[in-house]
């Protein structure tokens, strides 16, 4: 990265840069709005119930993307996100089967702590072993997936009724799905304080330039472990969101590791670290889901649908890269 300035956006009058960064996010939300308009156009009856379905559907991928985003911003990558989600999902389902409605509150807290700890384990292994992140977390993905099968050998368990209701139905008005409100509240509670804290600044600093961060007195190892722990927390929430939508625990990991990576790439998080946020990946998760949905509405064969999703991803990211290049030359 040739942009160490990102490490301290507040300390330097990098307003133009900040706008440029937000421009990508603004663009994504415009694209999302256009896709929604397109959806209403091809499916005039598209209504509140359908928006609700969309919001529930994107929950797991949004949290997978958020988890990955925090880690990637700090210069890492976690290929065990999908497995972590499976493990926290089955632990939640197995415990809730015995806890009852009130006890489920404790289960949720426990699973959040578990996710954070497991994420921290990933981080510690990466920092201590000095083996590349991608290798350590790939290996750990098998460990967590195996552990999930030990907890539940086959799909089972249950979820508390109040807990499933967090993603079901609408909030105040019929166009506002409760799943969406839950998602925004959870992300805001974690992300906004983090972003404003010293730790949040350190995450960007470490991801954007390790040496510069080190010289500025940022504790590299501790910051990275913290990033993995927060990623683990968000993956745990992702696992809980699977419980929320299915009502049970599924021990075999779903397609969330790579799905999350796709969403953050489209969402403007640089895989090289140090750049991006959560607003972009959230929009990207909705965009990818809407494209899938529109292709169903248009009656496009699933095989083509996969190809089209991939092409859209590559095109948007490429266009973004070209624009960035031109902007730098200008």
């Amino acid at each position: 990265m040739s942009a160490p300035a990102v490490a301290a956006p507040a300390a330097r009058p990098g307003i133009g840069r900040t706008i440029a960064r937000n421009q990508w996010v603004v663009g994504l939300y415009l694209l999302l709005a256009a896709l929604l308009a397109f959806t209403f156009l091809i499916k005039p009856g598209y209504g509140p119930a359908d928006i609700e379905s969309l919001a529930i559907s994107v929950l797991p991928i949004v949290f997978a993307a958020a988890a990955q985003a925090v880690i990637v911003i700090a210069g890492g990558i976690d290929l065990s996100i999908g497995s972590l989600m499976a493990l926290t999902n089955v632990v939640a389902a197995a415990l809730m089967a015995q806890s009852g409605e009130v006890g489920a509150v404790g289960v949720v807290l426990l699973v959040l702590i578990l996710g954070t700890l497991l994420g921290a384990v990933n981080g510690i292994l990466v920092v201590v072993s000095r083996v590349p992140d991608i290798v350590v977390t790939l290996a750990m993905s098998f460990v967590w997936a195996g552990a999930a099968l030990l907890v539940l050998g086959s799909p089972g368990g249950s979820a508390a009724a109040w807990f499933m209701a967090l993603a079901d139905g609408t909030f105040l008005i019929e166009w506002l799905p409760r799943a969406f409100v839950t998602m925004v509240v959870v992300l805001a509670v974690i992300w906004i304080p983090l972003r404003r804290s010293r730790l949040g600044l350190s995450l960007y600093a470490v991801g954007s330039d390790r040496v510069a961060a080190l010289r500025s007195g940022v504790p590299i190892g501790r910051t990275k472990i913290a990033a993995y722990a927060i990623g683990g927390l968000l993956a745990g929430i992702g696992g809980l969101s699977l419980s929320m939508s299915t009502g049970i625990g599924l021990p075999v990991p779903g397609p969330y590791t790579l799905g999350g990576v796709a969403a953050i790439v489209l969402g403007g998080v640089s895989l090289a670290g140090g750049r991006g946020g959560l607003m972009g990946p959230v929009a990207a998760a909705f965009i990818l889901a809407l494209i899938r949905l529109d292709l169903v509405f248009l009656g496009v064969t699933s095989d083509y649908s996969q190809v089209i999703q991939g092409v859209v991803l590559v095109l948007v990211v490429m266009i973004g890269g070209l624009v960035e290049l031109r902007r730098r030359r200008a």
Binding site: A20, Q23, W24, V26, G27, L28, L30, L31, A33, A34, L35, A37, F38, L41, I42, K43, G45, Y46, A49, D50, S53, L54, I56, S57, P60, G153, S154, P155, G156, M164, D168, L242, S245, T246, G247, I248, L250, V252, P253, G254, P255, A289, R292, L293, V296, F297, L298, G299, V300, T301, S302, D303, S305, Q306, I319, G320, V323, R326, R327
Partner: protein, 353 residues
């Protein structure tokens, strides 16, 4: 503001494309049927299931469009797919479920929207959904009974199972045990789990033959032609062998010198049968069928043996070298599917070019 303009351009292009594109799944006179399959893309059995669903929709003449979501995903992903089909406004949804319980929230939403739901291949617990599956217990009972009768009710057999814990394997084992109980002089000298893996099964039977165990017959849960090959490789005299309706095994039954055996069907065309049931339900002509897991409709398998002239004719009728070798040969299901073989192989849904 270059970014913004660019995205604005994209948005405009999207809207323009929408205006140009005719709505593919517009409201029409006939039914629209959705199909959701969450795994096994590229697997012969699953592909046959999809093609049979398309062919049955076409052959019925009552379906004007299909919406098929056929991708590898998990139960949460299939929830999304089912909800997409609900949003698309289909009249019925046929689903090969990823899980017995997990799909219920979306299946309930489908019921609330007045959409008929049929689960094929494996049942779902949702009380409003109809279930239609191949009868795996009967699959094993039929084949095992044939084998034991062929041996004159007396002798040593090997039971080569599938994946332990898989519902179909459990059901098949029960059927095998039922047949065994009716033939007290049959001895199971060895019970192995092939994991439905050809290499594993071939190694297991080779080990058994090398150990000098007296084997009079072999029942397999579908790893069949590889067992025949292992006998031939080991130079052991062929004994009666029971397998599935896999193309390779059927060919062996017709051509291999000295092989006596039977193929039991496990048709992927259960997908077509599911579409047929959905159409019956939409037409209000499915009296006698009950939703919920208790009402599960079980399709009985057929047995084709080269020990009888009739069976040989059935085998010869089914064998087709032009077919994909990974496809099971039970291409149609009597009383349920109405399409022709050409329609199945064409694999085109109504309105599909």
């Amino acid at each position: 503001m270059k970014h913004t303009r660019l995205f604005g351009g994209l948005a405009a292009a999207t809207v323009a494309a929408a205006a140009l594109m005719p709505a593919a799944v517009a409201a029409q006179d006939g039914y629209t049927i959705g199909f959701s399959n969450p795994g096994g893309v590229g697997n012969g059995w699953r592909e046959e299931m999809i093609c049979s669903a398309k062919a049955e929709a076409l052959a019925s003449g009552e379906v004007t469009g299909m919406n098929i979501i056929h991708r590898n995903t998990d139960a949460a992903g299939q929830l999304e797919d089912i909800r997409s089909l609900i949003s698309a406004g289909v009249d019925a949804i046929v689903v090969n479920p990823a899980d017995y319980e997990a799909l219920n929230p979306a299946l309930q939403e489908a019921a609330d929207a007045g959409i008929v739901v049929v689960a094929v291949d494996a049942p779902v617990s949702q009380p409003t959904a109809y279930n239609l599956s191949n009868n795996q217990e009967e699959y094993a009972y039929l084949g095992a009974t044939w084998l034991f009768e062929q041996l004159g009710g007396k002798g040593n057999v090997v039971e080569m199972r599938g994946i332990p814990g898989h519902p179909a394997d459990t059901d098949r084992h029960e059927g095998f045990q039922r047949a065994l109980a009716e033939h007290p002089e049959i001895v199971v000298v060895k019970e192995v789990s092939t994991n439905w893996d050809p290499a594993t099964g071939a190694q297991q039977i080779t080990d058994i033959l090398n150990a000098g165990t007296q084997v009079d017959g072999v029942w397999t849960s579908g790893i069949d032609s590889w067992i025949v090959d292992a006998f031939i490789t080991a130079g052991a005299p062929l004994v009666p062998i029971v397998g599935a309706d896999n193309s390779g095994f059927v060919t062996q039954l017709l051509t291999t010198e000295g092989l006596v055996g039977a193929a039991v069907t496990n048709p992927g065309s259960v997908g077509g049968a599911g579409v047929r049931l959905a159409i019956h339900l939409l037409d209000g002509m499915a009296a006698g069928y009950e939703p919920g897991p208790e009402g599960t409709i079980l399709l009985d398998p057929q047995l084709w043996t080269n020990a009888t002239e009739e069976g040989k004719a059935a085998l010869a009728g089914a064998a087709d070298p032009s077919l994909d070798p990974s496809w099971p040969l039970g291409l149609s299901i009597p009383d349920w599917t109405t399409y022709t073989k050409e329609q199945l192989l064409a694999c085109k849904a109504p309105g599909e070019a």
